[in-house]
Structure formats: structure tokens, C-alpha cells
Symmetry: C4
Subunit: 251 residues, 4 copies
């Protein structure tokens, strides 16, 4: 294998496509959002990408079958327009790999007629967020106003330190190709997988691109996560209580 | 030297060969198993591989003679069929190196007619294991049933996080070449070299491939390891006991 | 994108140019100095450099517009002569990248007629410095005396350990090309952004190259930094005080 | 600059040359020994090697003149035969770089007729050594006996873990070229620069290659180091003593 290999899995003509990137990152917000689109709409796997820039690893499915870690592109039919959804197991593992893969991802997207890029991710707040807002960064001034209309926030100095990794690079490299690109970042604690934040960016994306989608399964996962959080909090309280009991024995 | 060099050491025509990989890893289970095959059966060293992807290092033997770290392929005559056993000093030291070397290893195996791959290793349990089970992952659904017949377990969600390193990559890359591949993983604590776990995967391998082998020397090493464990446990108990004595002096 | 890309942004004929490098480093002394030149003199952006050797990252400006991290070259008109000022977001992230980029930077500089190099930076002293001195290193014996005339110090054994990163490499590689090069290093604590140290090296540079420049904005930033330092010192004193109060309660 | 550059500095015909490598390593034993040969015998600088595999750094001499870090080869005239002495500022900074540079070093050595390699270094003992022994590893069985005759020790299982870095690789790669190679390792604590250990390996080398050399300057440096050690020991004792005084005030 030499660097990157792109396997074309199926032929498909996309209608007015935009690229939606949802690789793993903060709170797995982008990945959850991308996978939700794959579950809710008819989708076709178009390309798989394996690369020396991913970790040297296979995933093993529930049947015990191993697959080399990879990223995949899917045609997602939302009705009037198609999305080209990119998701996968990992981001690149080196600086150089990030550049190489992001550039390859844009090549693939352009080869099927993509004219705009949406990179999805989370922005860490450091504390649990009840009603996550959605921040954005864009490659062109003109992209800002329509996003503000659908509730996206632009805050000076955020995200602090810029945007690192595949989402950042897709913007930076798309700008150099003249392809308009937007990064949508849902607020999230940064400590937990966050389906609620994924829903927040999907609502923005749906309004922006003119599709409608159900959120039932994300709500269920959000409810599960809320239970997990509650259990952790209870365990922490119980850890405190016995400690007080112990003191009585000593006292 | 440029990247990888493969030295052909001997000519040999293998009968119905399968590749058995036993490079160093968790509990050195795979390496112990591979070396046991080399000790118990007539074997011929066929290829040596040196590479910039290995550490920049020589090993020094008991006569003071230094050898560049390397991996080696051996023809092992088990009777009806030959094994092509791969073992060595180290795995690759970088992500990219893992891909490059695993790919090279498959090239060598295919060049001598190998039609199936068995990657041997350990799966860490975090605690001492009395009767280690053997888990597996495969590249094709059809490989599972014969393995279950000889006692291999397939457990949903295990190994958690997939399989990392040369064993994982051999599966992932073999699948892409259409070569059926199996990873056999003996349960092991992860803290100690584990000859008992090596025996467990060899028993499965022998049943699967139809050969018989003695385990005397592995049993001896397992007994030695058991003594080591016992000594460590005694030392830990002694460390506790004096501490209690000390308290009496204070009290 | 392949390794390094140089975008020529504007045509400009430079008069008797010297390269002034001010990329981020100790106390951001070099970067502050280079940016001060861009603010105080008429300047034209000539080249932008993006590279896989920079981090995989975009910066986001106050309007929410993202730009791939990059370095840039500017023509700065100081009156009689032009400076070619190099500044940017980051240094290279790997050893090899440092060599590749520094070499590329010199190629660009030579392509527009640069005949001498000044690399600007800080040298850490480990404690707050009231009146920072300026140390230097040069590529040719003959460069030393004129610098000593304008107040630069050469101290045996300093900087200890040589000069690491882009400033060091520009000297090392320029020497190999026969281009005279000087590294000016302002003393700085190493803990804080240091506009005062930036002023110190600019005074030397101005005297050496025969231009005059105002320092008002650097003085303001230095005053701001002095306030920050004072606040930190007060906070540290307050942290001590309550601790003493607490003891009274216990006592 | 592209990877490695070799500058031929002078023409020189070597008589019956062997390569002596003394790059920085444990206790700087090899580097001290190599530099001692350069000081004690007439020597001519033949080649300089700069490389992206070295750190991105310049050294600055006592006159403030900067030089790119490099390795250099010197012809050293010991009387009957010439040594080709390799020393420098640094070893390679990556695994791959170690392979690339060691291979380049052997190319240079073979280009001037070198027929044997001696890699000099230290082997860490973890404690101060009064009368350091010299261990060795060789590439061919036949090299062992003459070394034992001049006092070199071969101990089973030492050095534990083999030989890492340039000295190890020179042996490993020389063996692959059929060039006999020896690594001489002086025992040393591993904590301090060790001129005494450097002398020990030079005595072996001199006996082996048939030259004589004065050790006066190494003895002086060893005496200086002994004073440093004594001062450290005194400071440690004084640090204990005042602590006891302090207790009296409290008591």
C-alpha cells in the first residue's frame, strides 16, 4: 500500500452536492451528526479511503470480522439535494498526514461535483452544557449572514487558538481552491460523547441546506448519556457520604 | 540502506504453506508461540528483513557478535504441510512503518505461495489468568465456524479498540488482497511474558491446521514464570508484614 | 498540497533589501519587532507560504473568517532601503521541516535580491529583565565590529546550547550560501510576551541599517505588560495573606 | 538542502585507514576519545556532513560565529597508519535518520579506503566507576581474540538491550557490507562526562592498532571531573548538616 488508497465502491450521480465532514473529534459531535444523516436518509457508500496516515489498526465488528481503519464517503439523499457525507474511524495521526488526507478528501469531493463544504465538530466549553449553541467559521465574508439567520453565532476570539485537525484544514485548503467552506461547531463539555450538541449543529445544517430530519434516535442517545451523567454524579456523592461515615468511627 | 531490504537466505519449496506471524507484542504470546514452532519442528531460515522502520539498534549474542535488528521468515515442516513462520526482534516504530512492513511481509508470503495468514498475539485482561481462552478475529465470515469448532471464542466488542500493530495490519491488508487471515489472541495478564497463553493459541492452531506438537519446553517456561509470580507475591507479603511490625514500635 | 506552496501576492522591486525574520519564538520578541516594522512603515505583502510543516490548523479572524496558518513576506519601505520582513503564525513542527522551510525562505529572499539576513529573537534569562541587552551571533568575523559599535554584546558561551529553530537555521544555511547573516537576540525572561525586548533589538537594527522608527505603540504594549506583571504579583501576595488568616482560625 | 550534504574540505591519501567513530553518547566517552586523538596527532579535516537528520540548530563559537551543526571526518596520522576519525555535535534525531546517516558515514569511509571500523562509546553502570573496564561487541567471531589479548572483556548478556544509535548501526550496517567492525564501550556511570573511561578505550585502541599516545590532557580533565564530583558530594553533605541545625532551633 502506498500512502493513500481510494476505493470507488459504487457509481452514483449526485444532485447539487455539498460535502459534510463528520470525522471523530471533540465530543464526537461531528461524527454523531454525520452518522445520524446516514441513518435517517437513504444512503449509498461511494468511496473508502485507507491510508498509512491512519493508525496501524483494524476494527473488529460484532461478528468478529476485522476491517482496516478507513474513512468513507456516502451519497445521502435528503430530497431536493444530495449530501456527500464523510465519516470514519480516525483522523490522520501526523501533521503532514492531516494535510495529505484533507487535500485528498477535497479531490474526491470535487470529482463528484461538490461546490461547498461543511465541516462538523464540537467546541469544548469545559463544563456541562444544557442548551448548546453553535459557533461557526467560514472561508468567505458572504457566508456569515445566512448562517446568522439560522441561529449560528460568531464570537470574536472563538474558537480560541483557531481550528485544529481535519475540520480546520478542510476550510483552509478549500479556501485556497476557491470552494466556499463552513465549520459548524456545537458547544460541548469536551468530556463526553454529546448527541445533544450533534442535534444542535444538524438543526442549523438542515435550516441552511433546506432539508428536514427526525431527531428521535439522537434524543434517545442524549437521554442515555443524561442517565450516565446522573449515575456518575450519584457515585461521586456516594463516595463522599461513606467518607463522612468513616470520620464518625474515627471521631 | 533504503527503507527495507529483504535478504533471501535459502531456496526452499513450501508445501501448502500458511503464514504464521509471531512478532513481539502483549505478553510476548505470539513470539513465544512462533519460536516454539521453530524449536519443535525441522526449520529452514528463508528470508531476513532489515528496515529503517525497526529501531536503530544491534542485538549482541552470547559470543559478543552484533546483528542488526531484523525479522526473519522460516520454513517449518510440520509433516503434511509447511508453515512460513515470521518472527523477530521488534515491530515497526512508526504508524507508516507498520503499514510498509506489513505490506512487505505479505509480499514475501505470497511470493512463496502462502494462501492463508495466522497472526498470533495476546489480549490483555489486566489480571492473572489461570486457564487462558483464545479469542479471534477473521477477515471473512466463513473462517469463524471452523475456529469455533476447535475452541476459539468470538465475543462481541472484543478486543475492545480493535487490533493494533502488525497483527491487526496483516489482517487488514490481507483482506484487501483477498487472502483469508485470522488473528488468534491468547488471554494474558499483560504484565508478564506468558508461555501458558502461547500454548493455548498453539493448541488451537495445531487443531486448525492438523499438526501435533509437544509442549514440554513451554510447560517448563510456564512453571518458571509461575515461580517468578510466587516470589513476587511473597515479596509483596513480606513488604506488608514488616510495615505492621514497625507500627508496634511506634505504638 | 505538496510540501510547501509559495503564493506570489504582489510584484515589487526592492531597493537594497535585507531579510528580517521575526517568526514566533522566545517572548515573541522577534515577532513583535517584525510586526512593529509592518505597522510603522509603508508595507506591501509580497509572498505567502503554506506548508505541511506548519501545524494542521486555521486561524479565525474577528469576522469569523478562517485562514490556513502561513508565513508571509512583506516589502517594508524604511526610506533609503527596503526590508523584506518575514513573519507568521508558527515555526515548522519537525526537525526536517525546519531545514526545508528555512531553505525555502532563503530561496525567496535571494529571488528578490536580498544580500544580508537578520534573524530576530529572544534569549531567555529566567528572570524579569528591566533593561534588556541585545546579544548576537554572526556568520562571518567581519560582521561583529559594526554590531558592537551600535551596542550589541558578544558574550563567550552565550547563548548556551547554540541557537535552535528558524533563526539558527537561517544563519547556518545562509553561511553555506555565502550570504552574511546576523541573529539579534533580546534578553527576556522567557515567561512573558516582551515588547520592551523587541524595542531593544529594533534600536540596534535601526542603528545598524540606518533607519529611524517610532516606538510609541511598543511602549504602550510594554506598559500593558508591566500592569499584567504587577497584577500577577499582587494576586500572589493576596494568595499568601488569606493563608495566614486561615492559620489564625486554626490557631 | 536535501537530506544530507557532504562537503569535501581537503584532499588526502590515507595510509591503511580504519574508521574511528566518536559521536556524542553515554558519558561522552566516544567523543572525548575521538577529540583526544585529534589533539594529540597531526590531523586534517577531510569531510563535513550536514543533514536534516541533525537538530535544526547552530553552534556559536567564542567569537560569536555560528556554524550549522555537523559531523566531520579527519585524517589522523598516528605514524605507521592513518585513522579516519568521525566526530561531531549530535547523533541523528530519528530512527530513520540513524540508518541514513550511518549508511552515509560508511560510504564516506569506504570511499577513502577504510577496511575496518571502530565505534567508540560508553556503557552505563549506574554508579561511579574507579577503574573502568572496556567491553566490546564485534561483527565477526575472529575479531574477538585479538581484543581479549589487549584487555577487552566480552560478558554474556552485556550490553543488555544491545547497542542503540550510531555505534550500533555502524556495526550492523558494516557487517552487511562485509566490513569488520568493533564497538569498544568504556564503563562509565552514565551521569557525568567521563575522561577516565575515554582513556580506557583509547589504551585498548592504541594496543590494538599499534600506536602510542599521551594521556596528559585527559588526565587533567579527569582530575577536574574528580574535583566536580567531590564538590557535589560536599554540597550534599552540607545540605544535610544545616537541616540538622535547623531542627535544634525548632527543638
Amino acid at each position: 500500500m502506498d500512502g493513500i488508497e481510494v476505493d470507488a465502491v459504487a457509481e452514483y450521480t449526485l444532485t447539487d452536492p455539498v460535502l459534510i465532514e463528520g470525522l471523530p473529534g471533540v465530543g464526537h459531535v461531528g461524527k454523531l451528526a454525520a452518522e445520524h444523516l446516514l441513518e435517517e436518509f437513504p444512503s449509498t457508500r461511494l468511496f473508502e479511503v485507507v491510508s498509512e496516515e491512519f493508525p496501524p489498526q483494524v476494527t473488529v465488528d460484532d461478528e468478529g470480522v476485522a476491517r482496516l481503519v478507513h474513512a468513507s464517503f456516502h451519497a445521502v439523499d435528503t430530497g431536493d439535494r444530495d449530501l456527500l457525507v464523510l465519516t470514519g474511524d480516525h483522523q490522520a495521526q501526523t501533521n503532514r498526514g492531516h494535510y495529505t488526507l484533507a487535500s485528498q478528501f477535497l479531490d474526491i469531493a470535487e470529482s463528484v461535483g461538490v461546490t461547498a463544504v461543511y465541516a462538523l465538530g464540537g467546541v469544548p466549553t469545559g463544563e456541562l452544557v444544557d442548551d448548546p449553541g453553535v459557533l461557526a467559521a467560514v472561508t468567505e465574508d458572504g457566508l456569515r449572514e445566512p448562517l446568522e439567520t439560522v441561529g449560528v453565532q460568531f464570537r470574536e476570539g472563538e474558537p480560541a487558538g483557531g481550528i485544529v485537525g481535519v475540520s480546520g484544514l478542510l476550510l483552509g485548503l478549500a479556501a485556497r481552491r476557491g470552494v466556499p467552506a463552513t465549520c459548524l461547531m456545537g458547544e460541548t463539555s469536551g468530556y463526553l460523547v454529546d448527541p445533544q450538541s450533534a442535534r444542535a449543529i444538524l438543526e442549523v445544517l438542515a435550516a441552511q441546506l433546506g432539508f428536514t430530519v427526525e431527531y428521535g434516535s439522537l434524543e434517545e442517545r442524549a437521554a442515555e448519556m443524561a442517565e450516565v451523567v446522573e449515575k456518575i454524579e450519584q457515585m461521586q456523592m456516594q463516595q463522599t457520604a461513606p467518607a463522612e461515615d468513616d470520620l464518625r468511627y474515627i471521631g
